[in-house]
Amino acid sequence: MFDSMIQGLLQVLAWPTSGFLLLGVLAGLWLGAVPGLGGIIGIVVVLPFTFGMEPASAFALLIGLYAVTATSDSIASIMLGIPGTAASQATVMDGHPMAKKGEGARALGAAITVSGFGGIMGGIALALSLPLALPIILAFGSPDYFLLGAFGLLLVGALSGTAIARGLAAAGIGLLLSQIGYPVRSDVPRYWFETYYLIDGLPLVAAVLGLFALPELLGLTVSRSSISSVEASTDMRSGMLQGVRDVVRHRWLAFRCSILGVYIGMLPGPGPSIADWIAYGHTVQSAKDKSQFGKGDVRGVIGPEATNNAVNGGSLIPTVALGIPGSAGMAILLGAFMLQGLSPGPAMLTTHLTTTFTLVWTLILANIIGVAVLFLLVRQLAKAAFIDGRLLVPAVTLFVFMGSWLSQPHIGSWLTLLGMGALGIWMRRAGWPRPPLVLGFVLGPIMENAFVLSMQAFTPMELLSRPMTLGLAALLIVATVFTVRGLRRGEQVQVDRDDTHKDGDPVAGWLSLLLAAVWAGVCVWAFIEAQSFPLSAKIFPEVICGVSFVAALFVLAKDLRGRLAARGATGQIDFRQDIRTLEFLVWYAAIPAVSFVIGQIVALPLFIAAYLKRWGGYGPIAILIYTAAAVAIMVGVYQTLLHVKWLRPMIDLW
C-alpha cells in the first residue's frame, strides 16, 4: 500500500501529468469564479480531450479542474453576493456583507484558506475511508435518507430566526417548486403546464442564480454605488492575513465542517448544493454569539467553505469504491472511468490501487495549488468591491444569463432566472428569508424519493426495527426540541434580510402581506391539482401545501395586524426605489423578449450598451469597448469553447 501511495504521488508529479494538473487547476479556478459555469461544465468540456491519455494525466486534468471550483466560487459569493456555483450559496450570507463593510480581502483570505484546508481534509478522508466506505454507505437506507432530509429542513429554523413563519412559507415555496415535473415512480408529470422544459423540474442553476443574482444586480443599479459602502483600505494584505488568522482561530469549526462535508459527500444524493447550507446551519447553531450572522460574521464564511471543498473528497469515495456517484459531477467522472477502461469498485483498492492514489494526490495537490494561485490574486480581486457597481452589473448580467442558458439551452432557463429573480427581489423587500426556499427546493426531491421508496419497501414494523432509523429519528426529535426552544427564546437570527430599509417600512409590510396572500392562494390551487395525481405522487404536494398554507396564514395575520397598528402613522411613503425596481425588472425582461426577435448574441450586447448609457451614464467609447468585449466573450468562450446552442430568433442577424 505504501508503495502504491508513493507510486501515485510520483505519477502525479511526473510530466506531463503535473502539467495537466496545473492546467486543470487554472481552468477550474476560472470556471468556479464565473457565476453559472462551475466544475460540471468544465468536466464536460475537457472530457473528450482525455481520450487516449494515461489515466493519471486524465484524472489530473479532470479532478484538478473539479476540485478547485469550490475554492474560487467563493469569489463571486463574497464580492458580488452571487453564488459562483451551487456549492457556495451559503457563503453569500456573511461573505457578501463583509465585502460591503470593506472586509472583502479578509473574507476572501478566510474562504481561500479554509477551502484549501477542507479540500486537503477531503483528500485524506478519501485515502482513509475507501476500505470502510461500503459499510458506512450501506448503513443508510431509504428511510434514513428521508430523516437526513428532515434534519436539513430543520435548518429553516436556524436560518429564519424571528421570521420563522415567513421562513416556513419560503421553504414551502421551494418544496412545491421541487414538485414540478415527473414524480418519483410515475411517468405522469406534475404542475408542468404541458411544457417539456418543466417535465424534469426547474433547473437548480437558473433558479439559484435568479434568486440571488438579480436582487444584488438591482441593489448595485439603484444604489448607484460600489459594492463596498466604505472607502477602500490601502492595506488589503493585512485584511487577507486577518482572514487566515480567523481560520486558525476557528480551526475546530473548520475541522468539524470539513468532516461534515466528507460525510455529506459520501452519501449519494444530497451533494454539494446542500452541504454548504448544512454547514452554515451548524455554524450558526453552534455559535454562542449569533448576533452578527447575516451581517458579516467570518464564521459564516469559514463553515460552508470548509465543507464545500471537503465534499469533493467525500463524493469520490462511493464513486471510486462502489461505482455509485456521490454527486452530479461524480456521475460525469464515472464516464471518464469508463473511457479509461476502469471499473470503479473493489478493484480500485487492489489491482488499480496506484490509480486510486493518483486521485488522492491530485485532489490534495490541486487544493494546495489552487490556494497558492488565489492568494496571489486576492488583493486584486478584493478591489472589485470598490469599483462603480454600474460598471460591474453588465458583465455580471452577461455571465449570469449565459450561466443559466448553459445549464439548459432553452428559453425556459431565462424565464426561470427572471421569475426566480423577481421572486427573490420581492422576498428580500418583503423581509422573507431566501435560504429556506433553496433548502426546500434541494431537499424536496431527496425526501420524497426516500419517502416513496420506504413506503413500498418496508412495513411499519420493519421500519421500527431498524436501529439506524430509530437512532436518527431520536436525534431528529432532540434537534427539533432544541430548535423550537431556541426560536422561542429568540436566540436565532434571520440571516438573510434587507437592511437598506427601516424597520416598520410600510411598503415592505404590504409586500409581505401580498406575498403571503398570493402564496396561500397558490397552495390552495396546488392542493386541488394534486387530487388528480396517483397516490404516491400526491402525498408530498398535499403535505407541503397544507403546512405552507398555515404558515402563509400566520404571516398574513401578523402583517395585517402590523398594517392595522400602523394606521394613522404619519410620514410620506417613498416609492421612488420601488418604481426603479420595476423599471429594472422591465429592462431585464426585455433581454429574452429582444432575443426572441434578433437573437441572444445581439440582444445581450445591446442590453449592455443601453444599460451603460441609461444607468451608468458612460460615453460612447467606453460603451463600445465594453460591448465589443462582451461580444468577444460570447463568441470566443460560449460559442466556440463551450459550443453553446443559441436560440433561433425571428430575424437572424448573427
Binding site: 450501506l138 449519494p268 439551452p409
Partner: protein, 358 residues
C-alpha cells in the same frame, strides 16, 4: 445576410480560393458535425456516442471533427425534439439518442415521438440482464433457483421502464411472486438498494452490468446474473452470442425450469420490449438524401471497424449488436402500429403497466 455572414465574407472568399482543389475531397472536408445526445454527459449513452464518433470520422470522406452536444431534459425529449424540429437538416447536426422506441407508444400521448419522420442512419442494441441477490429466500446457487425462493422484491424506476418490464414479465413467466418497489434514481441507486437488502432483483444494460454490477455486486459474492435477453434477427429468432455468458438467455432458463419453449403474449412482450434500438443514430427530417446515404454506409463500415470494436470492448465491455437503417425503421414501424398489428400483446403490456402503476 447576417452580421456574421457580412464579417465573414472576405474570409470566406479567401478560403474558397484556397480550398478549391480540396472541395472534391468530400462534403465534410474541414467541417464539424455536432452529434446531439438526449441525455447528460458522462453516462453510458454519452460515452458510446463519443466512442462511435471517434471512429466514425475516419470512415466519412473528409474526416470531419465531431462535437458531442448533450441536450438532456424534458424526459429525454428536449434533445429529440430539437433534432426533429429545430436543427438544420444540413448534415452538420446529427443525433445519437436513447429513443425508448418500444416503450414510448405505451405512455401518455404527449410523450410519444414520431420517429418515422427522422432520417434514420442506424442503431445499436445493448442486451439487458436481470440480476439478483444470492441470499434471497433459501438462496440462489444458479439462476433456475429463482423459482424456489417464494416472493421476491423487484427494484425499478417506473412501470413503463423497459428494464422494469424485463424483471416483472420474466418473473411472471417463471411463476415467481413479485413485490415491486419503483422510484430509484438510476442504475447505481438500484444496485445500492440491492446491496442494502431493500430489494432482491433488478435489470440493467449488459454494459452497465459488466462495468458496475459485476465489480461491485457479483464478484464480491453478493449476487448473480439471472437471465439475458439476446437481440433477435429479422425473423424474431434470438441471435446466439457466445460472448454473452454472464447469464443464460431467457428462453433457455425458461426451458430449464418449465421444460417447454416459451410462447404467448407475455413472452412476445418480453422480447418486443427489449428488442428495440437501445441507441439510435439519426439526422433531422429533410437532410439531403446523398448525405444520408453516405452516413448510412459509413455507419455500417464503422460497426465492423476492428479498432472501434476493440475500443468498445475495452471501454464499454461489450460487443453491441448493430442494426442498419432498414431494420431500425422496421422496429419503429412495429412500435408505432403495435395496437393494430399485435393487439393481444399490446393489451398485455397496457394491463401490466396499469397493474404496477399504483
Amino acid at each position: 445576410m447576417t452580421i456574421r455572414d457580412f464579417l465573414a465574407l472576405p474570409v470566406f472568399a479567401t478560403a474558397m480560393l484556397a480550398a478549391m482543389p480540396a472541395m472534391s475531397d468530400g462534403f465534410y472536408e474541414g467541417e464539424t458535425i455536432t452529434l446531439v445526445t438526449n441525455v447528460g454527459a458522462g453516462g453510458s449513452t454519452d460515452v458510446q456516442a463519443r466512442l462511435f464518433a471517434k471512429h466514425w470520422k475516419d470512415h466519412i470522406e473528409g474526416n470531419p471533427d465531431f462535437v458531442i452536444e448533450p441536450m438532456p431534459g424534458g424526459g429525454m425529449l428536449l434533445g429529440i425534439n430539437y433534432l426533429m424540429g429545430a436543427a438544420d437538416p444540413d448534415g452538420f447536426t446529427l443525433g445519437f439518442v436513447a429513443p425508448n422506441v418500444t416503450t414510448r407508444p405505451l405512455g401518455p400521448e404527449a410523450q410519444r415521438v414520431a420517429y418515422e419522420n427522422f432520417e434514420v442512419i442506424g442503431s445499436v442494441n445493448v442486451p439487458v440482464i436481470a440480476y439478483a441477490r444470492n441470499d434471497v429466500g433459501s438462496g440462489l446457487k444458479e439462476p433456475a433457483d429463482i423459482t424456489k425462493v417464494g416472493e421476491v422484491t423487484v427494484a425499478g424506476f417506473q412501470p413503463r421502464s423497459s428494464f422494469d418490464m424485463n424483471s416483472l414479465i420474466g418473473l411472471e413467466l417463471l411463476g415467481v411472486e413479485t413485490k415491486y418497489v419503483a422510484g430509484f434514481g438510476g442504475g447505481s441507486a438500484l444496485m445500492a438498494a440491492l446491496l442494502r437488502g431493500e430489494a432482491d432483483i433488478g435489470t440493467t444494460g449488459l454494459n452497465s452490468y459488466r462495468v458496475g454490477i459485476m465489480e461491485n455486486f457479483v464478484k464480491p459474492g453478493h449476487g448473480i446474473g439471472l437471465w439475458t435477453i439476446p437481440a433477435v434477427d429479422e425473423n424474431g429468432q434470438p441471435i446466439d452470442d457466445p460472448e454473452v455468458a454472464d447469464a443464460p438467455p431467457f428462453h433457455e432458463l425458461y426451458k430449464q425450469v418449465r421444460n417447454e419453449e416459451p410462447s404467448g403474449p407475455a413472452y412476445d412482450a418480453l422480447m418486443y420490449i427489449n428488442n428495440g434500438p437501445t441507441l439510435m443514430v439519426v439526422a433531422p427530417p429533410g437532410t439531403p438524401e446523398d448525405l444520408i446515404a453516405e452516413l448510412r454506409e459509413t455507419f455500417l463500415e464503422t460497426t465492423t471497424d476492428a479498432e472501434y470494436l476493440a475500443d468498445v470492448e475495452k471501454q464499454v465491455h461489450l460487443k453491441p449488436v448493430f442494426f442498419n437503417a432498414e431494420r431500425t425503421k422496421q422496429m419503429i414501424d412495429r412500435a408505432r402500429t403495435l395496437n393494430e398489428s399485435e393487439p393481444e400483446m399490446a393489451k398485455y403490456l397496457a394491463d401490466l403497466i396499469a397493474k404496477y402503476s399504483e
